[in-house]
């Protein structure tokens, strides 16, 4: 094993193929030896079929998110885990469009993906999931995933490092035991912070040092993405988020801390 192994993790792509390509290029420049995508390749954005060839040609290893689970089983909704009718309204628009525009060939491919993945890097056990190790659509938000809960989750699932997505907001927490939880955020839409960049996670695992994560912003041609969304007649609220960096929909699921940081 080299002194340091570098791995990159991509959260929800949400059909943002430009951001995915930009993140792959960025991760390679940084020296990533392994690229991993944590599911939810579709949703929110336009032309879902453009994402998969990029994943495959770059050798990105993928697991399922709730979108892939739903699309590959012909489910009637995304099983995103929302409870408020206002959130479910926009989730249904997003899923309806993506289900219609994703070809059956790629839906069959999704069915072949695992729901979790384990890596062993120099004896460090790294667990990759979409939502949480116990549920594909469980939200691990920064302000509602306290240390004692995460310690138990990692013990129950035999992991030293947990990497997840699903919330769309990136964060990391070093636990008192030294273990690490990283939410890689999302490439599909900005992080409700008034910036147009999207985020992914870099992980460095050293021989002698403990695993260390860095959350990394990616610039991409968001204006072209916004125009594609308009072309496809996706909701104006979604387009506004791409252009402004502020979430406009699916806000009720946010914990109060995360909600208070946004514009809406």
């Amino acid at each position: 094993m080299p002194d340091v192994t570098r791995l990159a993790f991509f959260g929800g792509v949400y059909s943002n193929s430009r951001a995915l390509a930009a993140a792959i290029a960025d991760a390679r420049r940084w020296g990533a030896e392994g690229l991993y995508a944590l599911g939810d390749f579709g949703a929110f954005g336009p032309y879902p079929d453009r994402v998969f060839p990029i994943l495959l040609s770059a050798g990105v290893e993928a697991i399922q998110g709730n979108y892939e689970e739903s699309l590959s089983t012909d489910a009637s909704d995304c099983h995103c885990g929302y409870t408020d009718p206002r959130d479910n309204h926009f989730a249904a628009l997003s899923y309806g469009y993506t289900a219609e525009k994703t070809s059956s060939e790629w839906k069959r491919w999704m069915a072949t993906l695992p729901k979790t993945r384990r890596l062993d890097v120099g004896g460090r056990r790294i667990l990759l999931v979409h939502g949480s190790p116990r549920k594909i659509n469980e939200f691990l938000w920064e302000s509602t995933s306290p240390e004692p809960f995460l310690e138990k989750l990692l013990s129950d699932h035999d992991a030293d490092v947990l990497v997840c997505t699903h919330t769309g907001l990136h964060w990391q927490r070093r636990l008192p035991s030294g273990r690490l939880v990283v939410n890689s955020g999302a490439l599909g839409r900005p992080a409700n912070d008034g910036r147009t960049e999207v985020w992914y996670a870099r992980l460095e695992v050293g021989v002698a040092t403990r695993a260390r994560a860095e959350l990394s912003p990616v610039e991409y041609d968001f204006e072209a993405m916004a125009r594609d969304m308009e072309q496809e007649k996706l909701p104006g609220e979604f387009v506004e988020t791409i252009r402004t960096g502020w979430w406009t929909t699916c806000l009720e699921v946010l914990p109060s801390k995360e909600r208070s940081r946004g514009r809406y």
């Binding site: 302000s143 509602t144 809960f149 138990k152």
Partner: protein
């Protein structure tokens, strides 16, 4: 006729821990209260900060994810803010209140707690109508104005509460009723209104107000799938009162729902034997926000 067995809910994990922090003592006496809390109901005593700390310590070892405080009226407990601070040091906190005691000073201190903590703090404020004419018959004469003032004190501090409404308010659960409540919340100054609509439990005062459970409203003889059992909050929650640890926040007046004195000894299956269990299953009720 053979007696039909009740399905049992497993204990999958302890994610959510509730505290009956004010006991059954309340400054209101709502006609739909499932535990008939009132200024004179002493059946569960108020908890001390030391009581709560003991359970928080045990909860830490069990990996509890979130804490809820209810009563009665939590802010009748003089230690409520200190207790909330203790809990916030190890996880997100939600306080269920009737809003009457949310003075400007208390609202300011809640905002300070919210800002200082790395975990979320939520206030859930109960109301049962859009005006005094609809709310006061349920929650008491003059309560609409007092709740409104509490909500506006929170809003003035930038704390965004979850407005909680029960189905005792006619039409609240329907889409039009929800919209009306959201409009109402905006009109009183809550710029990002959050709303939770709760089903009624036909026990306590509510059994007197309308009716109790009918014999057919039971889960006896039913088999629930793993997904259905997992959806019940009792698979991942417990309620602590001054008298011990109960299966859920609803059944604290039922002696058989007391499962033990410590959290660890209550992490075992429970028979879904009550009408309230039927309500939770049939209507997908969760007391969580």
């Amino acid at each position: 006729m053979a007696v039909q067995a009740f399905p049992e809910v497993p204990s999958l994990s302890l994610d959510t821990l509730w505290f009956q922090v004010a006991g059954t003592l309340c400054n209101l006496a709502c006609t739909h209260c499932f535990i008939a809390c009132s200024p004179t109901n002493q059946s569960h005593a108020m908890m001390t900060r030391a009581d709560v700390r003991g359970f928080l310590e045990e909860a830490r070892g069990l990996g509890v994810r979130e804490y809820y405080f209810t009563g009665g009226e939590p802010f009748m407990n003089p230690e409520m803010l200190a207790i909330a601070g203790d809990a916030l040091a190890q996880g997100p906190v939600t306080i269920l209140t009737n809003g009457v005691l949310l003075t400007p000073e208390r609202s300011r201190r809640l905002r300070d707690l919210f800002e200082r903590s790395e975990y979320s703090l939520d206030l859930r404020v109960s109301i049962d109508g859009w005006d005094a004419a609809t709310n006061d018959p349920i929650r008491g004469e003059g309560t609409y104005a007092r709740i409104l003032s509490g909500l506006q004190n929170l809003a003035a501090e930038g704390v965004n509460p979850v407005v909680t409404v029960t189905e005792a308010c006619e039409g609240a659960a329907a889409a039009a009723g929800r919209e009306r409540f959201l409009d109402w919340a905006r009109s009183i100054g809550l710029s990002r209104p959050r709303l939770k609509v709760l089903s009624l439990f036909r026990i306590g005062a509510e059994a007197e107000r309308l009716r109790g459970y009918a014999p057919r409203e039971t889960l006896a003889g039913r088999t629930l799938s793993p997904e259905e059992l997992e959806a019940l909050q009792c698979s991942t929650a417990r309620m602590v009162t001054a008298r011990g640890v109960y299966v859920c926040p609803i059944l604290i007046d039922l002696p058989s729902a007391r499962m033990g004195a410590t959290l660890a000894e209550t992490l075992r299956p429970f028979p879904l034997s009550t009408g309230a269990c039927f309500t939770c299953h049939e209507y997908g009720v969760t007391c969580r926000t």
